[in-house]
Amino acid sequence: MIGRDILGIEDLSREDIETILETAERMQEIGAREVKKVPTLRGRTQINLFFEPSTRTQTSFEIAGKRLAADVVNFSVSSSSVTKRETLLDTAKTLDAMDPDVVVVRHKVAGVPHRLAEVLQAPVINAGDGAHEHPSQALLDMLTVREEKGHIEGLTVTIVGDIAHSRVARSNIYGFRKLGAEVRVAGPPTMLPAEIEQLGVKAYTNLREAIEGADVVMALRIQMERLEGACFPSVREYAATFGLDRAKLRFAKEDAIVMHPGPVNRGVELAHELADHRPSVILDQVRNGVALRMALLYLVSGRGGASA
């Protein structure tokens, strides 16, 4: 996988996903050590190219690179030549001339990481592009489910919320389907794309039916500031209908877990009582995110390897 771009779960085979998850499972132990660093990527350069602010994902990629002893450089919008009207491709070419071994890209427009991957020598890892994909998030979600349940094949995973605008939902649908889970999506009709079932999922507008017998219930973040009034009448109504609480969770399996990619709107997608304690595994997801990103960096970083 050296030199390979990680642009989306759609492009990964089941074997690729399993290799990544198994590598991440070995990386987890490093985070539990007193000295949380191995010399593996010493002398390699990782550039985090974030055109859209993202404290969580950027920090996670940065810690992952540092735990592998890579030199991590953060290039964010505020400090960048983006404000000097340099084009995207010129920015990318400039960075590439500094010989990074891997470039992590986040952009609000879908497809930007793909375009950069065509230009850059270094492998590109997509850290979220528009409403398209967020592969490292889906992989860490799969890692967390595997840790909790021991396997993914045969599980029922219900994703609740704004499916239409969510790159997390799309990546998770591809990923969990490839690993043999049944995936259901639920939300108000305005948030369910018309053709979503073509991805092999079942769509529900009734939350109770959607989580009936589910092993995993994943709530998505609602972008309240953008969507209130457009996709749902009010935040209160959304919380009453699609917000998860213990009462609604009764319909899921007894040992069901609750996930959320963060940051959580407390009292909207998740009730307070669920956000902090099991069955929610939100902080495990965050912890696993570092190990998962270490696995990606370990497997792909390096210039001039086999191409995707």
Binding site: E15, T23, R26, V35, K37, L68, Y298
Partner: protein, 246 residues
């Protein structure tokens, strides 16, 4: 006997998504039928167990008390050997030293020249190595690259008072100033030969399914021999690094 794979698979296999532990069923396969010619057995089960008992005696003899001993096995094939050594030490002294498992892959010096990243193995260090007499346990030592990586890895877990090395087989061709303190057997080999430890019932990752460790066997496959399809090579995964024997 049904010798399974000794050590890890090749990086190519690892990236093709064939982790060792899913190979359990295949691991009970037998040697290639013509193995008499392409492979020669250099240590049978009895010889290996005798060597491990002698090494346990030597460890007791040369250690100033056994209460600070800490055995650390390098996966995959160091693990069954480490387990047998811990059993032997317990029967000799009444004390059972802790057994850690330490993967050296992330400490290798040859990652940049390999075509694919090698598969990682389990690391499990039950307690700190501070002030302990640590005994690294490896199946086959050649260039010394794996032991070098193992010492680096060890230092990330604390500061041992002493570090010693057990090798079931020392096959020569050292490239680093590494001394083996306890050797099962010196086996002269050609640089291209493969030295393989088979463990019956082992599921590729060095962990034996049953409590009892099955029959062990060390074979040498000579460089010009036909590669047996079902034999994985001891230097391919986490075994002897540095490509000395390939």
């Amino acid at each position: 006997m049904t010798p399974p794979a000794a050590s890890g698979e090749t990086p190519q296999q690892a990236l093709a998504g064939e982790p060792a532990r899913t190979l359990q069923s295949e691991d009970t396969r037998t040697l290639p039928p013509e193995s008499g010619r392409s492979e020669r057995v250099v240590l049978d089960d009895e010889a290996i167990r005798r060597a491990l008992m002698r090494i346990a005696h030597e460890i007791v003899e040369s250690s100033d008390g056994t209460d600070r001993l800490y055995l650390v096995a390098i996966p995959n094939s160091g693990v069954p050997l480490g387990r047998l050594l811990v059993d032997n030490l317990e029967s000799l002294t009444g004390d059972r030293p802790p057994l850690g498992i330490l993967d050296t892959t992330l400490y290798r010096d040859d990652l940049s020249i390999r075509g694919a990243r090698p598969q990682l193995r389990k690391t499990e260090m039950p307690s700190s190595v501070d002030d302990r007499v640590v005994v690294l346990v490896e199946d086959v030592v050649s260039t010394g690259a794996t032991i070098r990586a193992g010492m680096d890895a060890l230092m990330d877990f604390g500061r041992p008072s002493h570090v010693r090395v057990v090798a079931l087989v020392d096959r020569g061709h050292r490239e680093l100033p590494i001394k083996i303190d306890y050797v099962g057997k010196n086996i002269p080999t050609q640089p291209g030969d493969k030295v393989v430890l088979y463990t019956e019932g082992e599921g590729g990752d060095g962990f034996v399914a049953s409590e009892e460790i099955g029959a062990l066997q060390v074979s040498v496959r000579e460089a010009d021999a036909e590669p047996g399809v079902s034999v994985r090579e001891v230097d391919a995964g986490s075994g002897e690094g540095g490509g000395a024997s390939s």
